[in-house]
């Protein structure tokens, strides 16, 4: 029953159709999706503004200005927000290959954390004792390996026994978190809950080898390289094609001779590996410290970033920017009014609901059947 080709003669029959009829769209143009998404974001922002105004009593323009200033107020702040953007983008790129094959990797958090743990361990053992370049290489490699291990474990079970990957990866997050706590308890003998920069040092006097600008450049560099790599890998390589086919239909993949198990494990290895890099960047490059909360929920945010961008690495730059801007901006607003920093999570949630919800208007066509109202009145 399609409602698309209704002529004037069939008006009478319309009276028997429901007031709201929904049909699936077969195609959608880029312009249309742009308009729908923009409208959704704008409505969401208006609602966020209303909530902010109600809670703080501040003029919405001022709120927005203070959000903007928190992100771009000066060079330092700009660098901080760009660095946040780069890290979130990296985590999002990490989860993307897995999502393309419908593997719900909710474990980016744990994979990055475990990568960071490996980096911290290497630095604790060898920091200052070997050449710094060698140390960097060793931490990077061990982080990537650790991330790969943490990602591959659930994927092997998924590939062979179809074990629920969403919950498996989630539980791996908490296991990694507890392992980090254990590491800290062993390493920080004073009973503190972080391993601080004094213990994770390079061989220089201060223990540090990068300036903050260099740190920013390294992190941004990794983000750029991985973005380009992901874009090419997903769209123009045989592996990327195999991932898409497995995501569309496992049976098709089997039929055309793709080794589905191999693809699942290989893709999760890549996912985990990129997460491992994030762990390395967070622990070795950016902070030289580790705590169980160092990934700070980015594993979940990344899922949204990736999904909102329809798994396209280039659009992910935009979506992760949106979320980082909100996070930092709303955090600043909350701080100014001495409210809880979780304020940004609420705003993020609202925006996500709208962007997720607008998907409906891209996939379906809604038609209101006013004839029915008219005919009911007559009766």
């Amino acid at each position: 029953m399609t409602a698309t080709s209704k002529t004037a003669e069939s008006r009478v029959e319309n009276a028997h159709e429901p007031f709201i009829s929904i049909t699936r769209r077969t195609s959608s143009t880029i312009g249309r999706s742009l308009v729908v998404r923009t409208v959704a974001v704008v409505i969401a922002l208006i609602i966020c503004a209303i909530i902010t105004v109600v809670l703080t009593g501040e003029n919405p323009i001022n709120v927005f200005v203070s959000m903007f200033e928190a992100n771009f107020g000066n060079l330092n702040l700009m660098m901080v927000s760009m660095q946040e953007l780069a890290i979130l983008l990296l985590v999002s790129l990490a989860v993307t290959p897995a999502f393309r094959m419908k593997f719900w990797n909710c474990g980016a958090e744990g994979q990055a954390l475990f990568g960071g743990l490996a980096a911290a361990l290497v630095m604790l053992l060898w920091g200052g004792k070997i050449n710094d370049i060698l140390l960097l290489a060793a931490t990077l490699i061990s982080s990537i390996l650790a991330g790969v291990i943490w990602g591959v474990i659930p994927s092997v079970f998924k590939a062979h026994w179809n074990t629920n990957e969403t919950l498996f990866t989630l539980m791996m997050n908490y296991v990694a978190m507890q392992l980090v706590k254990f590491f800290i308890k062993i390493a920080a003998k004073d009973g503190s809950s972080v391993v601080d920069p004094d213990m994770l040092r390079f061989s220089t006097e201060s223990g540090e080898i990068f300036t903050s600008a260099q740190k920013f450049l390294i992190i941004a560099g990794f983000a750029v390289i991985v973005t380009i790599f992901s874009f090419i890998y997903l769209n123009y390589s045989k592996h990327g094609y195999e991932i898409s086919v497995v995501g569309e239909s496992e049976n098709t993949a089997k039929y055309i001779g793709i080794n589905v198990r191999k693809v699942i494990v290989r893709t999760m290895a890549i996912s985990g590996g990129i997460c491992g890099i994030v762990g390395f960047l967070l622990v070795t490059v950016s902070s030289r410290s580790i705590n169980p909360d160092i990934v700070a929920g980015r594993g979940f945010t990344a899922i949204m970033v990736s999904w909102l961008a329809k798994f396209n690495p280039l659009i992910m730059i935009l979506t992760s920017f949106l979320l980082v801007f909100l996070k930092i901006g709303a955090g600043n607003v909350a701080m100014n009014f001495r409210l809880s920093l979780s304020f940004s999570d609420i705003l993020t949630g609202i925006i996500l609901f709208f962007i997720i919800g607008c998907e409906f208007f891209l996939n379906y066509k809604v038609r209101f059947n006013f004839c029915r109202l008219g005919s009911q009145k007559k009766r």
Partner: protein, 325 residues
Amino acid sequence: MFPVAEFINRAVMVGTSLVLGSTGEILTEKSGNLNLGIPGIMCSGAVSGLIGGFLYINSGAKFSAAAAVAITLAACCLGSLIVTLIYSFLTITLRVNQNVTGLALTTFGVGLANFFGGSLKQLSGADSISIVKIAKAYKASLPFASKLGDIGKILFSYGFIVYLAIIIVLVVSFVLKKTRVGLHLCAVGENPATADAAGINVTRYKYFATCIGGMISGLGGFYYFIDYMNGSWEDASKISQCGWLSIALVIFAIWRPVIALFGSYVFGGLWILYNYTGFSVQMEPIINMLPYVVTIIVLITVSLRRKRETQPPASLGLNYFREDR
């Protein structure tokens, strides 16, 4: 000596929160909706109860335990219902991806809880936001419980929600297995197109299942806060962990509330195990890792056995659109 009665007592308390969470999720999943927003819903349920109790205490009315309990319960149910409705509307009416919606709901709900838990004091200008007074009302147990020694402690010393949870489990189990409504609900979860053809209102069933399930889960979050944490707010992270474990427990329980009940008590025991072992403080994270490791092992064993009876509802995670083929 190992304090068995004390240990079981605390395990049942944590377990009650888990069992409410997982029973809610079982009901939801039976309708074919995978709600990954349960952690968020549990957190919002907890914080709505907190807000309700806080407003009641600060309203200046004469304190009565019954009114306090009624108001906090109503607030908790209302809060979790509203949050769940967001999920239901997005996934059932707008038919968008359930996983993403659920995760967004978790972000939102945990944020909501942390925000109001953290800023209620600031927003209202009150001195403290403790609702310990109300927590005492929830803890009221049968008068003869303390006279019966260990048996009393294990069986009768809890607040009423522990028994309410058991009743909810039995009712949900009965409805799912023995009634026409339950049969229809399972039909919707297994094959909505067939259910639709048989004249079952799929949308209505899905809405009711997710909303009632959400309220049950929200109550679980609130219980953790009001009884286990004695009604003083710290942060939402423990409650959201409870939420994730609840979702995992659904698989452990192979979609049967009664199994979830016992599973929850076992997990409750694992959750608090460290406090009752004599291990050094370094070992704490390792012991606390147990619930998650056990969950992983359970996930693997369930997937290895692969019996017909242990499978999830066939259309779990898929949205139903009548005109699709």
